[in-house]
């Protein structure tokens, strides 16, 4: 069984001077109990640890088994002092002792208890100072903060002695008295006869977590009176004594699966509160203590859904004082992609269990009303018609093909295919958009566009759902229009090479829709996303996304797709692809470098020239 006894504080400090007499009391350690019947036995571990110098056999210090009083069993002389501080280069020698607790007299000297109190003794290379040379603060309290931890739901008892045993022993001509300053109704009491502070009733953390009191000390020496006040803090430690409960009584939520059928989708969330705290570390063990289990014997449900549990701290205010509690969230999550043909409705129950709570109401049942709706793979009632300029170049983007609700889909993979007509006029192709949502039509063969016999081309588009093999078709008409422009000579194949508006707009390049590149005039100052550049189509390039068509050839839109060097002031795009922002004009030599620079050569030239003339 777990030991009910515990230390209300884990660390104690005291000074030990040379030549203090044997029997000299040093400090008093307290233990609190689990039940009234329990008796605390204190035991001092045999090894005395000298930090950075290893351990020594303890022959100087002892503890009274019943009262917890630590005292000197042997005077510490200069030689002892040297033994203890050998190898300890610190100016102040320290010795560390451990104290363990047991509810029965110690049989063997067991010292591996996880609940140990540590006593830090400062060994001072001098005799004890005269009482008259000590300040009130030194006479009344040690340097350590008065702060304690008391477990909730435990019987009352004394947990700290205010009087310092060593001072009391040495300075008997001084009158030192204590008082505990506390608000009305605080469950702590100062017992003047023992100079101990006692907790007078069982504490409830869910009611109040922290008590802030003041310990006041008065020292009288003849007519002189000195007073010191120090804070005295008590924190209440939590145990699992509250059952889970539902905020507003909500135990049911709807969970609808329609367009979003992707694995990992959170369908619905239900919340459970608990007035107890839950440590965030270690996370996994805290999760295991508060389980959420799907109650079903249907293997399909078990395979298709999972419950994810997250928790965080919230605050309750039962009677004005804020105490911490826990909000547990149980999320119903898809465990795999669901086919578009699936159609079911059912109630899914999740049992939440507070495994450490020992009471009848340790669990709550959550209900999810799950509806899985089928989605149809069909084109809305339209036939597509696109017009393409005869001067368009290869990789010009004509338009998008999309089945009904395609942009809402997640976890559904649609492939689009063009079924070729019975002619040799086949200028366009289709490429799969991101995430299998839509298809992009683009010019795949520019020379066909220029052929006069090709005017209007009929295609059939087929969309297929990969998982269910369901498919649908619609008609697509591509109309060629416009008269052929005379081609400029010496034009590069990429619009992005052009550095100036004039050369940009008189040339064509890969991806242009009407035979000419377009100039985007930036207006921003500094490094801006709206930089000046020459592009095949302002709509698609640069838009910060290297789409499938642009990705086919680095000359189409290096502004979105380059992974090479960018020279000059710039910011890179997502995944280090493309130029997200640039300084002045950005231009690129595809497959090589991109440059961003301010086009202010004219101004500078003028300035320079003017100065030389003068």
């Amino acid at each position: 069984a777990a030991l009910g006894l515990y230390f209300p504080r884990r660390e104690y400090f005291e000074n030990v001077y040379i030549d203090e007499p044997a029997g000299m009391p040093l400090l008093r350690i307290h233990a609190l109990k689990d039940s009234h019947e329990e008796v605390a036995h204190f035991h001092l571990c045999q090894r005395l640890i000298v930090p950075r110098a290893g351990s020594r056999e303890n022959t100087w210090f002892q503890i009274r088994e019943k009262s917890g009083l630590l005292y000197l069993s042997k005077s510490l002389d200069r030689e002892d002092f040297n033994v203890l501080s050998v190898g300890n280069w610190m100016p102040l020698s320290k010795a560390v002792l451990h104290v363990v607790l047991s509810s029965h007299p110690f049989q063997e000297k067991e010292c591996d208890s996880p609940t140990r109190a540590t006593v830090f003794l400062s060994l001072i290379n001098a005799t004890a100072p005269a009482c008259s040379s000590l300040t009130a603060r030194q006479l009344c309290f040690t340097e350590m903060d008065l702060s304690f931890h008391i477990k909730e739901n435990k019987p009352p008892g004394a947990f700290h002695q205010l009087q310092l045993p060593s001072v009391h022993h040495l300075c008997q001509n001084l009158s030192i008295s204590y008082k505990l300053l506390a608000a009305e109704g605080v469950p702590f009491w100062y017992n003047e006869s023992t100079t101990s502070v006692e907790v007078t009733q069982r504490l409830d953390r869910e009611e109040r977590e922290r008590y802030e009191l003041i310990a006041k000390c008065t020292v009288r020496e003849g007519f002189r009176e000195m007073q010191v006040e120090v804070p005295f803090l008590v924190s209440v430690l939590d145990e699992d004594d509250s059952p889970p409960f539902l905020p507003n009584g909500t135990d049911t939520a709807d969970a609808v699966v329609e367009f979003n059928r992707k694995e990992g989708t959170v369908l619905s969330t239900l919340t459970v509160y608990d007035a107890d705290t839950t440590p965030i570390y270690p996370l996994e063990s805290s999760r295991k203590k508060y389980t959420g289990t799907i109650i079903t014997d249907d293997p399909w449900i078990n395979e298709t859904f999972r419950v994810e549990h997250i928790f965080d701290e919230i605050h309750f205010s039962p009677n004005g004082s804020r105490v911490r509690g826990t909000r547990h969230e149980y999320k119903l999550v898809l465990n795999k992609n669901i086919s578009v043909t699936e159609h079911r409705s059912f109630q899914l129950d999740v049992l939440v269990n507070d495994t450490e709570f020992h009471g009848p109401e340790r669990s709550v049942m959550l209900h999810f009303n799950v509806s899985i709706l089928p989605v149809s793979i069909q084109f809305s009632n339209i036939t597509y018609q696109f017009t393409v300029n005869r001067n368009a170049e290869r990789f010009a983007q004509i338009g998008k093909i999309c089945i009904e609700n395609c942009m809402k889909f997640r976890g559904v993979n649609i492939t689009y295919k063009l079924l070729a007509p019975n002619t040799s006029c086949c200028p366009v192709g289709i490429l799969q958009g991101r995430e299998g949502k839509y298809g992009t039509l683009y010019v795949s063969n520019a020379s066909v566009l220029r052929r006069p016999e090709c005017k209007e081309i009929q295609y059939t588009v087929q969309a297929t759902d990969k998982q269910s093999r369901k498919h649908t078709k619609t008609l697509l008409t591509v109309v060629l229009e416009g008269t052929l422009l005379k081609k400029e000579e010496d034009c590069p194949d990429s619009c992005a090479i052009s550095k100036h508006r004039a050369e940009c707009e008189e040339c064509g390049g890969l991806g242009v829709l009407t035979g000419r590149c377009q100039w985007r005039q930036g207006s921003g100052k500094g490094i801006t996303t709206n930089y000046s550049t020459c592009t095949p189509s302002i709509k698609t390039c640069p838009d910060g996304i290297c789409d499938v068509v642009e990705g086919k050839d680095p000359a189409v839109c290096p502004q979105d797709c380059t992974s090479g060097n960018i020279i000059g002031g710039h910011g890179k795009g997502i995944g280090n692809l493309g130029i997200k922002s640039g300084h002045g004009i950005c231009y690129c030599f595809p497959r090589q470098n991109c440059y961003c620079e301010k086009d202010d050569i004219k101004e500078q030239l003028c300035d320079g020239v003017c100065k030389t003339v003068i």
Binding site: G526, I527, N565, I567, G568, G569, G571, G582, H583, G584, C596, K598
Partner: protein, 100 residues
């Protein structure tokens, strides 16, 4: 002072350095941080080859001095701009100089 300028022109190619603010680099970055800008400067008269003399003769009307100097670049320079974004500029400074 004319003679002084003439003498200065004969300084051979070498690495020099200047402490400048990032904004002064003219790359568009706005930042008050200072960077050490190392550059190559000087003449390359001692590196003239027959090729250069011939080229000069062929374009005798115009006086050409082949002054293409600069050899290796220094490490990357990183800085924080006025909008709390980090940037890294590579090949900003020269590390070694020579006549090419």
């Amino acid at each position: 002072s004319r003679r002084k300028r003439a003498r200065a022109r004969h300084k051979p190619c070498e690495l020099r350095e200047l402490e400048v603010s990032v904004s002064e680099l003219g790359l568009g970055y706005e930042s008050d941080e200072t960077v050490l800008f190392r550059y190559c400067s000087g003449t390359c008269e001692a590196a003239v080859r027959s090729y250069d003399l011939s080229l000069k003769s062929m374009r005798s009307r115009r006086k050409i001095r082949k002054e293409q100097i600069r050899v290796a670049y220094d490490d990357d320079v990183s800085f924080l701009d006025a909008y709390n974004r980090y940037y890294t500029v590579n090949e900003l400074s020269a590390k070694e100089c020579g006549c090419v």
